[in-house]
């Protein structure tokens, strides 16, 4: 009972909501870069939160189903088809044994989430199925999906055919303002450097991956070259000696010694991960209280938009 990978595309990874509580072994979090799109994938499928889905970067995934079940694709607008017939994203679709599912390459955005009813049944490692390729942990062998991989999943007969209304779907833009809580070595950046950081436009460089997004823009100078290695939270913004910021993401190393100017809000790193090289980024400073309010609002509204049901 599974789906077979016919084509994995450049980077398709099994992900649940990520690994927690193992930083002391040096293990990173992994998990979906765009938590919102991942959340809706499971919610539309009526799965418990955090069921294992596939994070598809850029596109190019092709699967054959060996089961009768339901699927859903959320996130970047990658063309979805079942047996060559086009289907909409953000909607639950029926698939039958033998069906070929194709996720094409995206025109905008970068990551999408492909889920099945009840999620893929993957053996967790350190409490999570999240694949972190750098660590060889999670997924099937700690690796990206490959041709011929079998992804175990259940036969599921009944599911409501939920979809998210067009107005409620996120639109992935080419510019983004990232809210930042200043912290870490902030005081080692001069007022001029801080003004430059919060007042300039940066561009996503070619070096952007699940570890971090490296940005290009005016160099941000720091008074110090480094600090004693210390814990790095998700979203921390590291400024290496060349002054080009790196927003550290889910697969980052857990400790490091480069100066950091603060950390980005998770709601915004989710959007950042949908940007491709060349897109532009601004930073805006917020205080922790504002961040917490934004997270609670997202929990109550952005993640709880009403689902509509398609009737046959």
């Amino acid at each position: 009972m599974s789906m077979t990978v016919l084509q994995p595309g450049p980077l398709s990874l099994l992900q649940d909501s990520g690994r927690r509580g193992h930083h002391r072994l040096g293990l990173s979090n992994g998990g979906p870069l765009d938590g919102e799109a991942f959340h809706y994938c499971n919610r539309l499928l009526q799965n418990p939160a955090g069921c294992t889905a596939i994070e598809v970067s850029v596109g190019g995934l092709q699967l054959q189903s060996q089961v009768d079940t339901w699927i859903c694709l959320t996130g970047a607008p990658m063309p979805l088809s079942i047996n060559g017939e086009e289907r909409t994203l953000w909607e639950v679709h029926r698939v039958s044994c033998g069906d070929i599912i194709h996720v094409g390459f995206t025109a905008s955005g970068c990551r999408s989430y492909f889920g099945v009813a009840e999620g893929f049944a993957i053996e967790p490692s350190f409490g999570s199925t999240a694949t972190v390729v750098r660590e060889h942990i999670g997924g099937l062998r700690g690796e990206r999906l490959q041709v011929g991989d079998q992804l175990p999943c259940a036969t599921v007969m009944t599911r409501k055919r939920y979809y998210l209304g067009e107005r409620d779907r996120p639109r992935y833009q080419k510019t983004l303002t990232v809210r930042v809580i200043p912290g870490y070595q902030q005081r080692h950046f001069s007022r001029v450097a801080q003004r430059r950081f919060f007042g300039s436009t940066f561009h996503v460089s070619e070096r952007c991956d699940r570890m971090g997004y490296r940005l290009e823009g005016p160099a941000i100078a720091c008074d110090i070259d480094g600090v004693l290695s210390e814990g790095i939270c998700c979203g921390a913004i590291q400024i290496p000696p060349d002054g080009q910021p790196i927003v550290l993401l889910n697969d980052r190393q857990t400790i490091g010694g480069y100066p950091k100017i603060g950390a980005a809000l998770s709601l915004d790193t989710a959007r950042l991960s949908q940007l491709v090289p060349g897109c532009s980024v601004h930073f805006a400073a917020i205080i922790p209280h504002t961040a917490h309010k934004a997270l609670r609002l997202a929990q109550r509204f952005a993640l709880q938009r009403p689902l509509l049901e398609r009737r046959p």
């Binding site: 930083h23 002391r24 072994l25 750098r134 912290g183 210390e230 814990g231 939270c233 400790i255 603060g262």
Partner: protein, 228 residues
């Protein structure tokens, strides 16, 4: 002591400015105190040389409440009668030889020592686990005798074999898995430093002491060591 918010779900506690055994002892004590005072609100902890990153659940609590509780818990740590638990000592066997330690001879030559003297200096010190990071199971141990301290390689190697024992400045470490690396390699340890299936997955944790023991090629192979 300094405690500052560094992200939406993170506070960083600084317990000193340098990597000393005394600071590391405070880090270890703080970890235990924070775990017991935060309970379910605590998501994860990253102890390092002189700091502890505290990750909390921002939907359950906030930085003010976490900071208040952490300060309260640390206040009790200054109790002069409280004795920290003596560190655990873990002995790791190492086969020191050029065939598994590509930099052993060049490091000896630069230090003006014989290979045997380098081995004696490396095995003659009790090291402390200051931090774990870089890769799963990579433990930063300090400090090596300054006579065998050596700068990182100018060009890191694309592949360092699992178990390799290296020196960088006054730190030493065992590579837990095959990875790129720029440390000076002097030998190889046959005991896995990270095994996802083992319980616990690592033989050491932050705050432990580690001592290296020189073993023969035969013993290295008998313990499951790999020369490749």
């Amino acid at each position: 002591m300094r405690l500052q918010p560094v992200g939406e779900d993170a506070l960083l506690l600084y317990l000193g400015d340098s990597a000393t055994a005394a600071t590391s002892t405070r880090v270890q004590a703080a970890v235990l105190a924070i775990e017991s005072v935060l309970g379910e609100d605590l998501v994860d902890l990253v102890p390092s040389y002189a700091s502890v990153l505290i990750l909390y659940d921002p939907l359950r609590t906030d930085h003010l409440s976490v900071a208040r509780r952490v300060r309260g818990a640390l206040h009790h740590l200054h109790d002069p009668h409280a004795q920290p638990a003596p560190p655990r000592c873990v002995v790791l066997p190492v086969y020191y030889a050029a065939e598994v330690g590509a930099d052993l001879e060049s490091l000896s030559a630069r230090a003006g020592l014989s290979v045997q003297e380098v081995i004696d200096l490396h095995t003659g010190t009790d090291y402390r686990v200051y931090a774990i990071g870089f890769a799963p199971g990579f433990a930063y141990l300090g400090e090596v005798d300054e006579r065998i301290a050596a700068p990182r390689l100018a060009t890191p190697r694309a592949r360092v074999a699992r178990g390799s024992v290296g020196i960088a400045e006054r730190q030493t470490a065992v590579y837990p898995s095959d990875s790129p690396g720029g440390w000076n390699l002097i030998g190889r340890c046959p005991v896995p430093l990270f095994d996802a299936r083992a319980q616990p997955p690592m033989p050491v944790s932050v705050g432990d002491n580690v001592r290296f023991e020189s073993i023969s090629r035969e013993r290295f192979l008998a313990l499951g060591g790999d020369l490749a």
